[in-house]
């Protein structure tokens, strides 16, 4: 039983930049442990001699000409959704407290 501890959950949350309430930590602790238990039975499967399949197209190194293509996307359209815009600059909070 891969029971995740409260610390495990808090560590995952930190890696994923999520901030959880105490209730959420408890809830996810239980749910994630169950889910991980279910998927853990894969470790009994014999995969000797097999390579992983990361994608199934069989395509490799798809290239295109190094040319600028105009798809009609404007700067204004791209900046329209920015929450904190200063002219054309994206404003962010200070990094250090």
């Amino acid at each position: 039983m891969s029971k995740l501890s409260k610390d495990d959950i808090l560590k995952l949350a930190r890696l994923a930049r999520l901030r959880l309430s105490d209730d959420e930590v408890e809830k996810y602790q239980k749910e994630l442990s169950e889910i991980l238990d279910y998927v853990a039975h894969l470790d009994t499967v014999d995969t000797a001699g097999l390579e992983p399949t990361y994608q199934i197209t069989g395509l490799t190194n798809m290239t295109r000409k190094d040319e600028v293509m105009d798809y009609g996307v404007t700067q204004d359209a791209l900046l329209k959704n920015v929450p904190n815009l200063d002219g054309k600059l994206i404003k962010v909070r200070r990094m250090l407290s």
């Binding site: 994630l32 998927v39 992983p52 994608q55 199934i56 395509l59 359209a77 920015v82």
Partner: protein, 475 residues
Amino acid sequence: MSQWRTIQEEATSVATGATTAVANVQKALALIDANKDFQAIISTLSDRALQRAKELDEQIKNGKAAGRLAGVPFIAKDNFLTFGGETTAASNILKSFEAPYQSTAIEKLEAEGAICVAKANLDAFAHGGSTENSDFFVTKNPLDLTRVAGGSSGGSAAAVALELAPFALGTDTGGSIREPASFCGIVGLKPTYGLVSRSGVVAMASSTDVIGPLTRNVEDAGIVLDVMAGKDPLDSTTIEKNPDGYTLGATPKQRSPKIGVIKEYMGDGVDPEVKRCIERAIADAKNAGAEIVELSLPSLPLALAVYYIVVPAEVSSNLSRYDGQRFGYSEKDAATLDDSYELSRSHGFGAEAKRRIMIGTYVLSSGYYDAYYKKAQTVRTKLCQEFAQAFSGVDYLLGPVTPEVAFKIGANSEDPLKMYLIDIMTVAANLVGIPAISIPYGSAQDMPVGLQLLAPQHKDRELLELARWFEGIKS
């Protein structure tokens, strides 16, 4: 009584002047308005749709070519980036997001004159099988308001079953087109991975996401696929389309297909009444000249575990872009950049998104990557091999889509794992990249049952022809 004829008939109707694009758009918007109780639609794109319709009508009036789908309205799942309104992915983190460009699939349909009139509800970020994970509301099943329409393309499936428009677009990462199509009694096609560009569709799991049509009949699905399919410079995982295209045309091909029944999909976990519908399909096929064999793919029971490692891993990566800085919800009360990231994401994402992000983060983290993610992708290789082996002996595979019919709203929502188990028969096709389709085939407990047909990679046209054959022989 049918609201819309077939896609071809609707297109001809506009082209010959029997009706106008504007009339079609107005009709679709009226139908959407009249069916609000089902909660299939998040938003309409009325202004832009009417504007485009007017332009198309003008073009047609002046004798100019307006595209093979000119004036045919459709609905897109709200994870397709579209102009004229918002794209939310049914998530609070993207509420009021206005797309700066459109998905290639939408562009291709518009180039042929089709008109997107509305955005359909989904489980937020396509995480789910019932739209109960939508941050906004649950889509009800058109045949029973107390039951789910399925998901994650639940809104799209309900919209087609309600005939709000002749067709809708969905995405299928683990069954999200096929399952709701099955629950709502319509056709849902999951094409070969890479056949339709994913550019401009909110990414869930990049190695399994596909775009596909939801329609009322197989021929319509072929036409929509035909328009959308093909290599796209904006998506380097796209593949060439079949030079014969996917429009089936009038003459069905002569058929004596060899079909394998997947033993692992016909086990004890399947509702006996659902199984009976599939058995009826098998009997119909035999009577019509098909050769049916029973096949075993012994690694199939592992597919769900592979899926729930690989997909959350890819989801955690794809959702890392929602950080409150360049787009989407941004927490106003954030002092530092870290606060901004954490609070924007925590307040913007729903519970299922957080669940999947954390599972994904766990299986990719140092010390666990080999045991989980790499192991899962290696079991994926086993699955690919078993499917290849199966297809060396038969042309197609069949089975149910889900173990049960559309469940009651709330029945599975307290238990994430129980919800995941509904996907048990659909995920394998995504992991190995093959095309699969759900077509309505009878009912159980007064709710529709879908028959799932699968074909080898790149055999989408053949799969559509088989599906149409089944439509014709259904007893």
